[in-house]
């Protein structure tokens, strides 16, 4: 186990190092001034410029510069945004949790709807209800998320007027960001209309969560269904049937847990898709998350923000992937012992 942990940690650190190299070289690859791209600070005069260059070790070799850059990254000194002039760490700190929140709820939706649906379809495979679920999930799965979200806005916001179409909560509420998760923040917040605020936040959450969640649910249902069908054809199920167990007993004792094992590694792949989808849907719903923030940065050529945004998003994805992979290792000892770690 220790060996595995060490292996994963090395992999994690090496990947981050490569990312850091890429993000550092972006400061040179982006058009414009290296110092400005790197820090987000625009020196007013030559004296200031010289001082900043000295501070960021731009007068020394690339290696020195890079190590100073990495130490800054680690201490949380990520530079400033061109457009807002605020520290990028604060900006990412506000935007990132918003995206994670959206992705989490969508993931929960996929877990609590997709997996049961998949089990049901798998058990009833090749029946009418299975065909129904299967075709529905294929249809939803093949929707482009962008288009699906637009459709939801058109129907539920503009025509039926049951859900708002932008933001996380009505701006009338003053919610201090503590955790960055809006629902938690409302619970922690010291405001009068807590239940009203919760309702408002939930109505804001409904459409974007549904847009991302529906697609994740569909793919989750399909994965589960396949896995259940596979398990059902295993010899130990035939043995259980011949022992005279009822179908309920077979389901709870044999199918449920065994079908779950192959699903988990596939979930790791889902997480990446989920976050990408969340970033796309954010821009449509003006959700103040990292995707929306990066798009703004692109429009406004905010190079320091792009550099850090890329770094932050990829770090998040890598961390999650490695964690899920590690988790799989822990719960599934049947996997080959000396298999190498992989991202």
């Amino acid at each position: 186990m220790t060996q595995i942990l060490v292996r994963y940690c090395t992999l994690f650190i090496l990947t981050l190092l490569v990312l850091a190299i890429i993000s550092f070289s972006l400061a040179y690859l982006f058009p414009g001034d290296v110092l400005e791209n790197l820090t987000g600070l625009v020196p007013q005069n030559e004296i200031q410029r010289a001082a900043l260059e000295k501070q960021f070790k731009l007068d020394q070799s690339y290696v020195h510069q890079f190590f100073y850059y990495v130490s800054n990254l680690l201490t949380g000194d990520w530079g400033y945004s061109f457009t807002s002039g605020l520290p990028l760490r604060d900006e990412v700190g506000i935007a990132m949790p918003a995206t994670i929140e959206l992705a989490t709820y969508a993931m929960l939706m996929a877990l609590f709807i997709g997996i049961p649906m998949g089990y049901y379809a798998g058990i009833r495979c090749y029946s009418t209800s299975d065909y129904l679920i299967n075709s529905a999930s294929i249809t939803i799965y093949s929707f482009p998320v962008f288009w699906f979200a637009l459709l939801l806005i058109l129907v539920f916001s503009l025509q039926m007027d049951v859900a708002p179409l932008s933001g996380r909560i009505s701006l009338l509420y003053n919610i201090e960001p503590v955790s960055g998760f809006i629902l938690l923040d409302i619970l922690f917040a010291d405001i009068e209309n807590k239940s009203l605020a919760l309702k408002d936040a939930l109505s804001h959450l409904a459409l974007p969560t549904f847009a991302i969640g529906a697609i994740a649910t569909a793919s989750m249902a399909r994965i589960t269904r396949r896995s259940v069908i596979d398990v059902r054809h295993r010899p130990y199920i035939a043995a259980a049937i011949s022992r005279g167990l009822s179908s309920w007993q077979i389901f709870f004792r044999h199918i449920l847990r065994n079908a779950l094992l192959p699903i988990l590694p596939l979930m790791a792949i889902q997480i990446t898709t989920l976050i990408t989808n969340a970033m796309i849907v954010e821009t449509l719903f003006s959700w103040p998350g990292i995707g929306n923030w990066l798009i703004q940065a692109i429009y406004q050529r905010d190079y320091p923000a792009l550099r850090i945004g890329m770094m932050a998003v990829s770090t998040l994805v890598i961390t999650l992937t490695i964690l899920v992979d590690l988790f799989n290792r822990v719960i599934d000892p049947s996997r080959e012992k000396y298999e190498r770690a992989a991202v």
Binding site: S84, A163, L165, G167, L172
Partner: protein
């Protein structure tokens, strides 16, 4: 199990939507406590003295500040604000303002006023842009574009404090548009006490970032590209001003005016408050910064915004079709026109200019370019101006006359000229290129070949200033209701070098008339002079007035008391929300 699963499934699926619809249906009183306005962009600063863009004045002028005087949005007359009354001496050079007592500045996290508004604040606010030696003059850049463009600082001899609530301003030259300039969005009153606290703390530039004013709302927070939040100013002077008081105030104004017959023209009106004397403000005002116009409209439709800025011309029909949305429209203080370069032959001949004017059909231009979101212009002045002349002469579409006049002036068929079309969209001309193409067709009918010229905006204006054009399609937006704000910059001799006189037209009679108009305070006398001016312009026709574009504001029917302010930024003081 299987049945239960299906049940659970449908339950989950529905939950989200049910929650959403619940929140919508039980709209509670809480939502009435605040107004959300979808604005189009970030303000440059929170001090409108420093910037003339409408985004800045929308976000600051009428929300955070008050001026000494205000324009009545209905009549365009000047009404008392922080100055409860004023006197002008017979020579028209000295203005004495009596200030309102018991007016309090905002008390916020960063500033708590210890005294109420008095003459020192007026002196500070005016001296800041007027005197280059003022300690605050160069804070935040030191440019005061509005006051620079009208040269007001040069015309003020002195601003003096008579006593705590009386200020006297002396001018060098008579200027009957002076009061109007003090009522513009840019002439806001800042807090002197706040400024001195800030200089002691060594952070004077905060005065424009964390604003303090006397307006109906106080600044709470601002996040770029996201929102600006304001809270109600609990001690706002108009809140305590009952309808009785306001009558008294205006009576007082009237009596002072009658004492001074010379000043009878200074208009005073008690009908300032839009909702019948009782002044109220919502608890919260929020500017939701939404640059995309389609998203602003969508938010308005779903009720996430209560009002929105600048609906696009193509969206107007959608707004009109919705029952719960109101599209308010008013002719704006602007003019789109076709100016001839009167220094180039043959355009120096008024007959040629008249011929070309008669060759075009203005009504078609209005339909095709403005989608009927403008009214036909006869003179330079739009109807919102008090000097608007309803019966002014207008050119008419008459190609036969045009051909005859051209022939008489010795212009051969096939004569070629250029039409310069401005490359940017403005309310007064949303599509100059399209208009130029239409005019091109009309001119071909009378035997004139026109070529359309366009450059990027900066080059375009530079070449115009150099006078390289034959004719140009451009326009003008004014900042106050005074007619001088149209006549002087557009056609006076002095405006040729500064580049606003696109016709390069210099006529001594015209300059004399508009100068005379400023020497009197009698509105009727001024109107009579401007009638002569209009007549002169109709005869000489240095430019063809085409349209005054409407100003639009879209808002939900729940809002009460929101009126379009043709003289500048949006006002949310006095606006209420009912569901």
């Amino acid at each position: 199990m299987s049945y239960g699963l299906v049940k659970r499934l449908s339950l989950y699926l529905c939950t989200a939507l049910v929650v959403a619809s619940c929140a919508k249906q039980n709209k509670q009183a809480f939502y009435n406590t605040g107004i959300i306005y979808c604005s189009e962009s970030n303000p440059v600063t929170f001090n409108p003295q420093l910037d003339t863009s409408s985004t800045t004045s929308d976000a600051s002028s009428h929300q955070l500040y008050d001026r000494l005087l205000d324009f009545d949005p209905e009549t365009g007359r000047i009404v008392p604000s922080l100055a409860s009354s004023w006197l002008v001496t017979n020579d028209g050079l000295t203005y004495a303002f009596q200030l309102r007592k018991d007016v309090w500045f905002h008390s916020t996290d960063y500033f708590t006023p210890t005294r109420n508004f008095n003459a020192d604040d007026v002196l500070f606010s005016i001296d800041r842009w007027r005197l280059t030696s003022h300690p605050y003059h160069y804070i935040s850049g030191g440019r005061y574009p509005y006051f620079e463009s009208i040269g007001l600082a040069q015309n003020i001899e002195s601003v003096e404090r008579v006593n705590g609530y009386r200020v006297e301003i002396t001018l060098k030259r008579r200027d009957s548009s002076f009061l109007a300039n003090l009522a513009t969005d840019f002439a806001v009153i800042l807090s002197e006490e706040y400024a001195s606290q800030l200089s002691q703390a060594g952070s004077p530039s905060k005065i424009d970032e964390l604003p303090v004013g006397t307006g109906p709302f106080k600044f709470e927070s601002y996040r770029k590209d996201h929102f600006i939040k304001y809270r109600r100013h609990e001690d706002y002077w108009r809140l305590s001003l009952s309808s009785e008081d306001s009558e008294n105030a205006s009576e007082q104004t009237n009596t002072e005016i009658t004492k001074e017959p010379e000043n009878a023209s200074t208009p005073a009106s008690s009908s300032f408050q839009s909702n019948g004397g009782e002044y109220s403000a919502v608890e919260q005002l929020i500017f939701d910064i939404t640059p995309r116009s389609s998203l602003r409209l969508a938010k308005l439709m779903t009720g996430e915004c209560d009002a929105t800025a600048f609906p696009a011309q193509t969206e107007l029909e959608v707004i009109r079709a919705k029952e719960d949305l109101i599209l308010a429209e008013k002719p704006g203080l602007n003019i789109g026109f076709w100016a001839f370069n009167t220094q180039r032959p043959p355009f120096n001949n008024p007959d040629v200019r008249r011929a070309l004017a008669a060759a075009i059909d203005k009504n078609t231009l209005l339909e095709a370019v403005y989608f009927d979101s403008a009214i036909r212009a006869k003179t330079l002045l739009p109807a919102a101006s008090w000097a608007f002349q309803n019966d002014a002469d207008d050119t008419a579409y008459n190609p036969v006359l045009a051909r005859k006049l051209l022939a008489d002036a010795g212009i051969e068929p096939g004569f070629s000229m250029t039409i310069w079309a401005m490359p940017v969209e403005r309310a007064y001309n949303p599509n100059a290129t399209k208009m130029a193409e239409l005019i091109q067709r009309y001119l071909r009918d009378v035997g004139v070949e026109a070529t359309i010229v366009s450059y990027d905006w900066a080059t375009f204006r530079r070449h115009l200033r150099e006078g390289l054009h034959d004719s140009v399609l451009i326009g003008w937006s004014a900042d106050n209701g005074d007619p001088d704000n149209f006549y002087r910059p557009l056609l006076s001799c002095g405006a040729i070098p500064s580049g606003t006189n696109r016709a390069m037209w210099c006529n001594p009679d015209y300059d004399k008339l508009i100068n005379d108009a400023l020497k009197t305070d009698d509105i009727e006398a001024r109107k009579a002079i401007y009638r002569q001016v209009n007549r002169l312009l109709y005869e000489r026709l240095p430019l063809v007035p085409i349209a005054h574009a409407y100003r639009y504001q879209a808002y939900r029917s729940e809002l009460e008391g929101l009126t379009i302010n043709p003289f500048g930024g949006v006002r949310f003081g006095g606006v209420e929300k009912t569901l």
